[in-house]
Amino acid sequence: MEKPLEEFTEKINTKEELIFYLEGLSQAQQAAFREGRALLSEKLKGKISKELKNFFEKMEEKGMLSKNPEQQYSFLEKIKKYLLSLPEVKLEIAFSPSNDFLKNISLWFKEELGQKVILDLTVNPKIVGGAIIEYQGNWRDYSLAREIDKLINDKLSHYERF
């Protein structure tokens, strides 16, 4: 993978962020044909996010993004396809996480799974603490609510015996 693309995907941790950047890329695709032969970063000046603009500039510097509108369009299409192919991890947690927390979690998954993942986050205070994780059909409940339930059930069954 090209370094600028890797740096760009590093910035995408959650599904919301993914949707945001996909919208930006779609917008860029529409603009590609609008102003004839010009660099994409110039065509989209002030219309897209800073991160996307930086990414386009870096790609243009490397010569991977020419002034040809057709080439620009197909390049953006490839990027979109790549982003959509990233595996998703569903994460249910009990609190609203900070950006740093999300970055750390994302990094941890990358290290554990050996590839970049997109976090589909759900905040559910009912799980009290911990997390419920889903990845490619595998489901694990590491929530505090489950532990509490288990504890109560064990105690109840213990008393029922008497």
Partner: protein, 509 residues
């Protein structure tokens, strides 16, 4: 049964419904899902895995109430099973074994059995060697069936197929055979009339009705024969003889065609998917005569019938205007050990039952018959063929010789003997007596109407019960008739017993 949450925790896997058409869903996730495995949705709907693709699984859902795209699904780690119990007797259930007769839940100890089971292997199988009495004279004589046989009942709609099957159930249930009637896509009114018939004949408590109606999802209709067979296997494994009726498999094939088309399987002949033959063959292969697994009486001879258990299957196939060359019809004819053909032309001529004995076949039934039955069948077949040929000549209005007229008269009398009401069950001994009377010229020079009345009188006498003299006389004759070995003896015996028969005929007149 546990719920969605328990199964998710137990298996550690989750899936999502990604596609939905009627009762068929496509699910993603659940990486270790297997074929025929049961799945459960978060709303408690259950389904069975029917196919596995690279990213999705095709699932047949048995309820469509709470299904929606995005719904979470859990696997259960077990093959689809139904709860079977002894208490199913006398109940009307759906293919999921849930009662639909309004008599409350099925009580008693239940065993969960796989809906798809492998058929018994060749080493377990035993030759079909015991006749199964249907109580319908034309079948018992000319197209005999044996326990463990798979005999197709084929014919146009409304030609009396179900009536014949109900007569067979009545005859067999009274002998202690467990009867399972599987109605596939049958109208509720038709099911109700079957129920009423069985209740009237006092055999309902020995019968299980597995019912699916056109209002049910096609997956439920698809499941029905497999449920019926699983229940049959449960009773067979308890050492009982079982008779299972699939009414009808052409409708079943149509439901499977619908499922296959929705699953985007490549349609074959008449748009049926190619595996329909395999599905029906695998189902009917589970029937048969096999060695009893629990060798209760090891001192018995290995060939003894007490060491055998059987499932006799009578699948039904519907035809259109006597066309037996349809795809499903020919498939079923190839799978089964013969067929009983209900001829619409016979029906229109007023023959009841409308069975065409010349186009009916029983491949293994004849081997179960005694010499007397074989002789009688051969004689009858010959006379009926002559009668049929002469009828064609007689319709031109030519003058007929006395011999021809006699043959025509005999043919007509055979038709009278074979004509039987749907509530009349004629046991073998009584069939032999009636034929013996015909052979010994008891009805010689008597008008056909008189013969009809006399035959009915004898049958009525038999069904009157033990408090009537006619019945006791017939019982006496019955005991002796069982010992007869050949046609000559039968002729002699009936001639000797004609005074007794006359006594029966004049009992109340």
């Amino acid at each position: 049964m546990r719920g969605f949450k328990d199964y998710t925790e137990k298996t550690g896997e989750i899936g999502y419904i990604t596609g939905l058409t009627h009762s068929i869903t496509w699910i993603s996730g659940l990486p270790t899902l297997k074929l025929e495995e049961m799945i459960i949705t978060e709303h408690g709907e259950i389904g069975m895995v029917h196919g596995l693709n690279k990213k999705t699984a095709e699932v047949l859902m048995f309820s469509v109430k709470n299904l929606r795209i995005g719904e979470r699904v859990a696997k259960t780690n077990r093959v689809f099973q139904i709860p079977v119990s002894q208490k199913l007797l006398g109940r009307i259930i759906n293919p999921l074994c849930l009662p639909i007769d309004g008599l409350g839940p099925v009580t008693g100890e239940k065993r969960y059995l796989n809906i798809q089971r492998e058929a018994p292997g060749i080493t377990q199988r035993v030759r079909v060697n015991e006749p199964l009495e249907t109580g319908v004279m034309i079948v018992d004589l000319l197209v005999p069936i044996g326990y463990g046989q798979r005999e197709l009942v084929i014919g146009d709609a409304k030609t009396g197929k179900t009536a014949f099957l109900l007569q067979t159930i009545t005859s067999q249930a009274k002998k202690g055979v467990i009867c399972i009637y599987v109605a596939i896509g049958k109208e509720v009114a038709a099911v109700k009339s079957v129920e009423e018939y069985l209740k009237e004949m006092e055999v309902f408590d020995k019968t299980i009705m597995v019912v699916s109606t056109p209002e049910d999802p096609n997956t439920i209709n698809y499941l029905a024969p497999f449920s019926g067979m699983t229940i049959a296997e449960y009773f067979r494994d308890q050492g009982k003889k079982v008779l299972v009726i699939f009414d009808d498999l052409t409708t079943h094939a149509k439901f499977y065609r619908e499922i296959s088309l929705l699953l985007k399987r490549i349609p074959g002949r008449a748009s049926y998917s190619g595996d329909i033959f395999h599905i029906h063959a695998a189902l009917l292969e589970r029937a048969g005569n096999i060695k009893a697994s629990n060798n209760k009486s090891s001192d018995q001879k290995s060939g003894s019938k007490d060491n055998e258990v059987s499932i006799t299957a009578l699948p039904v196939a519907e035809t259109l205007e006597n066309d037996i060359s349809g795809y499903i019809q020919t498939n079923l004819m190839a799978i089964t050990d013969g067929h009983i053909f209900f001829d619409i032309d016979n029906f229109r001529e007023g023959k009841r039952p409308a069975i065409n004995a010349f186009l009916s076949v029983s491949r293994v039934g004849n081997q179960t018959k005694e010499l007397l039955d074989k002789e009688l069948a051969s004689w009858t077949r010959k006379k009926m063929a002559e009668y049929k040929r002469l009828m064609e000549i007689a319709q031109f209005g030519v003058e007929l010789s006395p011999r021809t007229q006699k043959l025509l008269d005999l043919g007509k009398k055979l038709e009278i003997l074979f004509s039987q009401g749907i509530k009349t069950i004629i046991p073998r001994t009584l069939q032999l007596l009636l034929f013996g009377l015909l052979l010994s010229d008891f009805w010689e020079n008597k008008p056909h109407d008189v013969m009809k009345v006399e035959v009915n009188k004898i049958l009525e006498g038999y069904h009157k019960g033990p408090f009537f003299e006619e019945f006791l006389t017939l019982l006496e004759i019955e005991n002796d008739i069982k010992r007869i070995k050949n046609l000559k003896e039968l002729k002699g015996f009936t001639k000797k017993n004609i005074p007794k028969v006359i006594k029966i005929l004049h009992a109340h007149s």
